[in-house]
């Protein structure tokens, strides 16, 4: 072990004591796309004790350009990202305990998961989940690290309950969709830069060097050669419903959550049935096959070609409709198959 981690033990900010602390910690990471791949790899290589990964997607060809844990074989096998990530992370460091959860990070799931978690890494692709992370963070007093990017533009901010402003202080409401990934695309250096900031903050928190934690909000543009460090002293909002005195944690209430979502940057609608539960993919595959559809599957999901659209159905009843951004249309396709 000492040889393996010798170069970071040599770094004065970590040392032998810091390495032991990293080893004793549990990190919850929401998302295993671009930011999740990179943050997960940094923490696994650094020797974190436990890493819990939550992701609802499977690996697609368009991910390979920037999502560093995945290969062409994962695409061919349509592996869920959480499962593919775990496979690669175990090959990198077999000492780290990896919990892979294939599913949507709902409020109730997050409240269940955070019990013994030390920090939360944001690697999601939407503000709704981030607001839920933010409320969970405040309610259970667990620091989290916001990170996001589009095009050559990215940002990061460390949120420590009781100390810094929270994401809801800054946004007040969930920003309208469609501003970003659909139109902006993404290059992988931007992802790397956000990962650098998030994972450095994560290491500081894991070794409990709270004085080193960044208090500014960083944003940058790698193509335009900009870097801004924003002082956040005046950002805390006393009336904040997530961290203020009269807090209600609005994003922990499932009733406030959307049931159908256009996935950011993708021509895809996600459908979450109001009641989730195990469905028989095998039986469904048989039915659809006899209907003449081209169906491929594995134990986690079923992929069905439907003209210009393609539906991927997970075994909890959730589905992704590729080839549309129309929520109603997507729901219609879904209901045609699953009732």
């Amino acid at each position: 072990m000492d040889e393996r981690y010798s170069r970071q033990i040599l770094f004065p900010g970590i040392g032998k004591e810091g390495q032991d602390k990293i080893r004793s910690k549990h990190v919850l990471m929401i998302g295993a796309g671009a930011l999740g791949s990179g943050n997960g790899e940094v923490l696994t290589r650094a020797g974190v004790g436990r890493l819990t990964i939550v992701d609802r997607d499977y690996v697609e060809a368009s991910n390979l350009q920037r999502q560093q844990l995945y290969t062409e074989e994962d695409v061919a096998e349509k592996l869920p990202k959480a499962a593919a990530a775990k496979k690669r992370l175990k090959a990198i460091n077999s000492d780290v305990e990896i919990n892979a959860i294939i599913g949507d990070a709902t409020p109730s799931m997050l409240e269940d998961l955070v019990k013994d978690v030390d920090i939360i890494i944001d690697a999601t692709d939407n503000f709704e989940t981030r607001m839920t992370i933010n409320d969970v963070s405040q309610k259970y007093k667990i620091p989290w690290i916001y990170g996001a990017c589009v095009g050559s533009y990215g940002m990061s901010f460390s949120i420590i309950p009781g100390k810094t402003p929270c994401l809801n202080c800054l946004l007040r409401t969930i920003p309208m969709q469609g501003l970003t990934c659909d139109t902006g695309g993404i290059i992988s250096p931007t992802v790397q830069m956000v990962i650098a900031h998030q994972s450095a903050e994560a290491l500081k928190m894991l070794v409990e060097d709270w004085d080193a934690v960044r208090t500014s909000f960083v944003s940058f543009d790698l193509w335009r050669n900009q870097y801004t460090s924003l002082k956040m002293g005046k950002a805390k909002f006393s009336g904040c419903l997530s961290c203020g005195e009269e807090r209600t944690y609005p994003y922990l209430d499932q009733e406030n959550m959307t049931k159908t979502t256009v996935l950011c940057g993708r021509d895809t609608v996600q459908i979450r049935p109001s009641v989730q539960g195990a469905i028989s993919l095998e039986k469904l595959a048989g039915q659809l096959g006899s209907l003449g559809y081209t169906v491929k599957g594995n134990p986690y999901l079923l992929s069905v070609e439907m003209g210009s659209e393609r539906m991927v159905i997970f075994n909890d009843g959730r589905a992704l409709i590729h080839g549309t951004k129309d929520l109603t249309h997507a729901k219609s396709i879904y209901q045609r198959i699953l009732g």
Binding site: G31, G33, A34, L35, G36, D122, A123, T124, D125, N126, F127, R130, G147, A148, C149, V150, G151, Y153, G154, M155, P165, L170, L171, R172, T173, I174, P175, M176, Q177, L179, T180, C181, T183, G184, I186, V194, F217, S219, D221, R224, Q226, T228, S229, L230, K231, M232, G233, K234, A235, F237, C264, G265
Partner: protein, 77 residues
């Protein structure tokens, strides 16, 4: 006189990296409303505002010479 900077897609919407405007005495909220009227910008409610590299609330009053930046949070990841 004030320098008003735009980041990410706001910059594309405005068509310039920054504008020179005389907005001293106005609040950030007033400036946001003015910009939304004069440029093809999305609503700036959830865009973060910096005055001289420090986060500013919507009711902050702009002083002469202040440099204002609009930094839109993004959701990609």
């Amino acid at each position: 006189m004030n320098k008003v900077l735009f980041f990410a897609h706001l910059r594309d919407a405005v068509g310039e990296e920054f504008l020179k405007l005389d907005v001293a005495g106005k609040t950030i909220a007033e400036l946001k409303a003015e910009l939304a009227t004069n440029y093809d910008l999305p609503k700036l409610d959830t865009v973060m505002t910096a005055v001289n590299e420090e986060f500013a609330q919507d009711d902050e009053v702009i002083q002469d010479g202040d440099e204002i930046a609009f930094i839109p949070p993004v959701s990609g990841g």
